[in-house]
Symmetry: C2
Subunit: 271 residues, 2 copies
């Protein structure tokens, strides 16, 4: 076991904490790894904590007691969250996104790993006090966002399928009606994917009337899971809303196909 | 502008580098941010580099010249990669994964953010010299793996759909035949998702005869994209293989439904 210099310890600690958000690391693990006194480790952690706080990426939480330790709690500052949302709004305003039927092309945004990561950090921050056990989404486009969010919350991702697959085993299926287009559909989730009584955060990419999100909430009740939050990247303004409480990063107020113009403003999270 | 202490600088640099793998950060950005001489910054970066190397998480690359700077190149060490793959093998051997028809339940593994992150790091390391422009996968279960890989490579994710959706705009569709079950299917990708001539890395969760991966490769040729690598989390042993060159983390050598036993060994990456 070699002895670490403080400078090397700081780099290594930062890396370890960032790698697994919310995972509790016993102080003794650090003390042993670095062959250093706990008091020195605590000083190091105070430095890491201070920088994290200052840079709006979260903080280092100390849990005292025999089962104690430290863990990294991601928390985006307000400024950083707002910047990300404004960047998203600008991207959404690009008229080349308009597709036939007034749909918006979003796949490129959801393939942008850095944007998706920042959005995940926002959701993890906003829902930090809801004691989330799992992040739930529906295939396909919501998956990257759900994954990024779960990563920052340190919880698993659960993916609802639009049709039941043989590779899912025994599933619970419910039928859904799209609130905007009145199309019929179904949502399925394998029985073993979610524990009874789990507290779940529902994440999706785009919400119109909210038929899909409503379906996810209904499916969750079949699992006796509690939906403790709903976050959507973007939503449209609509009169008939099937979901009461949801937070969005961007609100698309108008898609003018003739004028080739999309109007977007900051979502409900910022109002 | 306040002056940063070296200890705080080290934490902040580590965090900045880890956040965006492969992004080139000009030394002058650091010098300005920390109000420090470039020589001090270089010393700091050497410390970060050394710890990253030692801990098997990659290294800090310095690019000289006017457009130069530094960037974090993730690179999992052999030991760390092997440990992850062995953990995966143990998980796959759990007989409760056996589903009717000899399928395996994998959704829990693909929902495990820490396992998925480590697998992404392995792929990013293994294919690091292929100059990948995008990571391509097919919905649904491959998405978390593709996302994690792309995140470490600093490139976008492109998701192929099993049926064309109105929200994708103009798409290219090809028909596929499953090599194992001879079922027909189709794969679609929106035209604007991929640039002509792009170098793509194909990632998927599970491969039997390889019909789906073969389909992805064929679809890529429609985009004149070059497939520079194929990585699958797990594969089965099969006589008829539709894909020549692929790397796997785990090989399922036998699924014995009667005996309720799954035999798994390290995949082709480790042979």
């Amino acid at each position: 076991m070699k002895k670490w210099k403080r400078s090397a310890r700081l780099v290594d600690m930062t890396q370890q904490l960032l790698r697994e958000p919310h995972r509790l690391i016993p102080l003794s693990d650090f003390a042993e790894r670095y062959q250093a006194a706990k008091s020195s480790i605590s000083e190091d952690l105070a430095i890491v904590h201070e920088v994290f706080q200052q840079e709006g990426s979260g903080f280092v939480e100390t849990v005292s007691g025999a089962a104690g330790g430290v863990r990294y709690i991601p928390r985006a500052g307000w400024e950083r969250s707002r910047e990300t949302a404004l960047r998203l709004c600008r991207e959404l305003e690009n008229p080349s996104r308009i597709l036939p039927g007034g749909y918006l092309f979003l796949s490129d945004l959801l393939g942008d790993v850095s944007l998706v990561r920042e959005i995940g950090l926002i959701w993890a921050s906003f829902f930090h006090d809801r004691e989330v056990d799992a992040v739930v989404t529906v295939e396909t486009k919501g998956i990257p966002l759900a994954y990024a969010t779960a990563s920052y919350l340190g919880v698993p991702v659960v993916i609802i399928r639009r049709d039941s697959r043989i590779t899912e085993g025994s599933v619970v299926t419910i039928n859904t009606v799209s609130g905007s287009s009145k199309r019929l559909g179904s949502l399925s989730l394998s029985r073993r994917s979610l524990q009874e009584g789990a507290r779940v955060l529902v994440i999706d990419d785009f919400m119109k009337a909210g038929g899909t999100v409503r379906g996810m909430i209904d499916l969750m009740s079949e699992f006796r899971a509690e939906v403790v939050g709903v976050g959507v990247m973007a939503e449209t303004l609509t009169e008939e809303r099937l979901v009461e409480e949801s937070a969005s990063l961007a609100t698309v107020t108008d898609i003018d196909v003739k004028q080739n113009r999309i109007a977007v403003q900051l979502g409900s999270l910022f109002r």
